[in-house]
């Protein structure tokens, strides 16, 4: 369970160009659900996602993860939580050029220092599940957009996180690849993962596997949508 209370996020505080990206967000996100934030550009979706994923801190407000208040934790602990709990799929994929698909997938596990053979096997297995086994040695820049996204998904799953965060995951994909992504999402939900994503792609927000769509505008939640019945 993720709970946000009175979340505000301001940028350039105290300067002329001070900007409030989030203006008092109160939210409760249940586990093992697929939640989508929808809204126009600048509505605060990505900022909210980065606060949920411990990538940034709120200017004020509290974030609870399970029973734990993580708002005031030092960076080291936040990193630890981020590594153990969250898997990220970024809009631009954010893969490291020059590294192979396999190396990119293994990267989040390096700081854990686990057994290399086990890590290697797990990364290969994930790439295999995503039909990329044959491309594991290819440099990331030689992969197509869809392949890159699947590598990003494999990377997000390497540490077996409970929560998958995806920011505009279909923004750079054509319809076929977007459908494919939704199928992967369905599989993730089927194995008990919580998925939180942002999108304004109808293919995503209107999909049956999305349990909850939350509309945002000007840093506020405007129309919280109740969890769709029968989707749990």
């Amino acid at each position: 369970m993720i709970e946000l209370k009175g979340i505000h996020k301001a940028f350039n505080t105290g300067r002329e160009n001070e900007f409030h990206a989030l203006n008092g967000i109160d939210l409760h996100l249940p586990t093992q659900r697929v939640t989508a934030f929808r809204g126009p550009s600048g509505s605060g979706k990505t900022t909210l996602l980065s606060i949920i994923g411990c990538l940034s801190r709120p200017t004020s407000g509290r974030v609870r993860l399970g029973e734990r208040d993580i708002s005031g934790l030092p960076e080291r602990f936040l990193t630890h939580i981020r590594r153990q709990t969250f898997g990220f799929i970024f809009q631009q994929f954010n893969l490291i050029k020059g590294l192979s698909a396999l190396e990119n997938v293994m990267l989040p596990a390096y700081p854990l220092g686990g057994n290399w053979r086990a890590l290697h096997e797990r990364a290969e297995s994930l790439l295999g599940d995503l039909r990329l086994a044959h491309r594991r040695a290819a440099a990331i820049e030689h992969l197509s957009g869809g392949e890159q996204q699947r590598v990003a998904i494999a990377r997000a799953l390497i540490n077996d996180p409970q929560i998958i965060i995806a920011d505009e995951p279909t923004a750079n994909l054509d319809t076929g690849l977007a459908m494919e992504f939704m199928a992967i999402l369905e599989n993730l939900h089927a194995v008990g993962k919580t998925v939180i994503l942002t999108s304004h792609d109808p293919l995503v927000v209107d999909a049956t596997i999305v349990h909850q769509v939350i509309d945002m505008r000007d840093g506020r939640i405007v129309t919280p949508v109740p969890i769709a019945e029968g989707c749990a």
Partner: protein, 378 residues
């Protein structure tokens, strides 16, 4: 414990791939870095070995040399001085020496003519240093003529060329018999260029020198340790000149290193952001970058130092020899005994590897403590 070792292995592995991914930048940096270390290490190794060689040569030099001064200039020792010196307590051995300089207009070089105290040289023959033999193209048995300062022409046969391993001190040396020397330089019997003394008790050298000054107020005693000090200061001075010239290169390197190492490219900043976002701690990023800097600087240090070692001790410092050996026409050719001074190595290491490591870490630390949130925004 295993996890920690595995983690370090992963970090080093990633560092190596990171270095390989920025081949052009890192190779450029390695090249310039290596060049700087090579330059500095060459100068240091060369002057240190030269000092050592000079010190070894001077071990056999007389403990005190007495020179007579007239109007502040070195003049000949007149007859009678040797006998009087023999009466000073503490003087073990005394010897009047004959030596002088001769300018050879043919090769525009100065030779040092000397009468050796410990070997007889037949009249009309010369023993010459290898530097002079090279300059004049001489071989044993050749004839050579010199016009003396009185205008008279003298011809000599080359009896021997002095051994190559003494070239540091004998490159321009011409050994001549006493009779030929006196005749060539028009020096009357009983006169000497200076007097070399040995003292029975090494602790008494300064006392003997004080007595000499007292009894021969027109003369100055020169101690072996003073000569050694003079050599030291000459080498220090020359080393200083080269290092001063090199400092421009060092400064250029410092700017280059700072720019290359610290000026993180947008790609590198983005990469740090990605690593942080996917769960790398600031410390992990710093460790990885530390390994990167350490590998580049250590490799440059080792390659540069090794190249300098080969340059100095295998290839006779061909790049710096003209400045460091002197400006004479006759450059001595000699092979220096390899000498490595730990303190010098440590100094060089400290002034090349550490500044680079610091220059790389600070901006990386700045980038690494930034919010990884920016990565979310592409």
């Amino acid at each position: 414990m295993n996890a920690r070792i595995e983690k370090q292995k992963y970090l080093i592995d990633f560092t190596l791939s990171s270095l390989a991914r920025r081949k052009a930048k890192n190779l450029g940096l390695l090249l310039v870095y290596t060049l700087i270390v090579f330059l500095l290490a060459s100068v240091m190794l060369f002057t240190h070995a030269l000092r050592q060689a000079a010190a070894e040569v001077l071990v056999g030099a007389p403990e005190v040399i007495l020179q007579r001064m007239v109007a502040g200039r070195h003049d000949l020792i007149p007859p009678g001085y040797l006998e009087r010196i023999g009466r000073i307590r503490g003087v073990q051995h005394k010897e009047g020496r004959l030596w002088g300089y001769y300018y050879d207009p043919v090769v525009k070089a100065n030779y040092t003519f000397m009468v050796p105290g410990n070997q007889d040289i037949a009249a009309g023959t010369l023993l010459v240093g290898a530097g002079m033999a090279r300059a004049r193209g001489l071989a044993v048995g050749n004839l050579i003529s010199f016009r003396s300062y009185s205008g008279k022409l003298f011809s000599f046969t080359i009896a021997r060329i002095l051994p190559h391993d003494s070239e540091l001190v004998s490159a321009d040396l011409v050994l001549i018999s006493e009779a030929d020397f006196r005749s060539f330089f028009s020096i009357a019997p009983g006169y000497f260029t200076d007097i070399a003394l040995s003292v029975a008790n090494p602790l008494e050298v300064r006392n003997v020198a004080a007595k000499l000054s007292q009894q021969f107020p027109d003369s100055r005693p020169i101690l072996r340790e003073e000569i050694l000090r003079t050599y030291e200061s000459i080498f220090n001075w020359r080393e200083g000149i080269v290092l001063a010239l090199a400092s421009l290169a060092i400064l250029a390197f410092a700017i280059f290193a700072l720019e290359k190492a610290s000026g993180l490219s947008a790609d590198e900043k983005r990469e740090i952001g990605i690593l942080k976002a996917i769960g790398w701690e600031t410390g992990d990023v710093l460790k990885m970058k530390f390994w990167e800097g350490a590998l580049v600087s250590l490799a440059a240090f080792l390659i540069g130092y090794l190249a300098a070692y080969l340059h100095v001790f295998r290839f006779s410092s061909s790049l710096f020899a003209p400045v460091l050996k002197g400006w004479a026409v006759l450059y001595p050719r000699f092979e220096l005994s390899p000498v490595i001074d730990g303190f010098q190595v440590a100094t060089l290491f400290f002034f090349t590897v550490f500044p680079y490591a610091a220059a790389t870490l600070v901006p990386i630390w700045r980038a690494a403590i930034a919010d990884p949130d920016a990565v979310m925004r592409g």
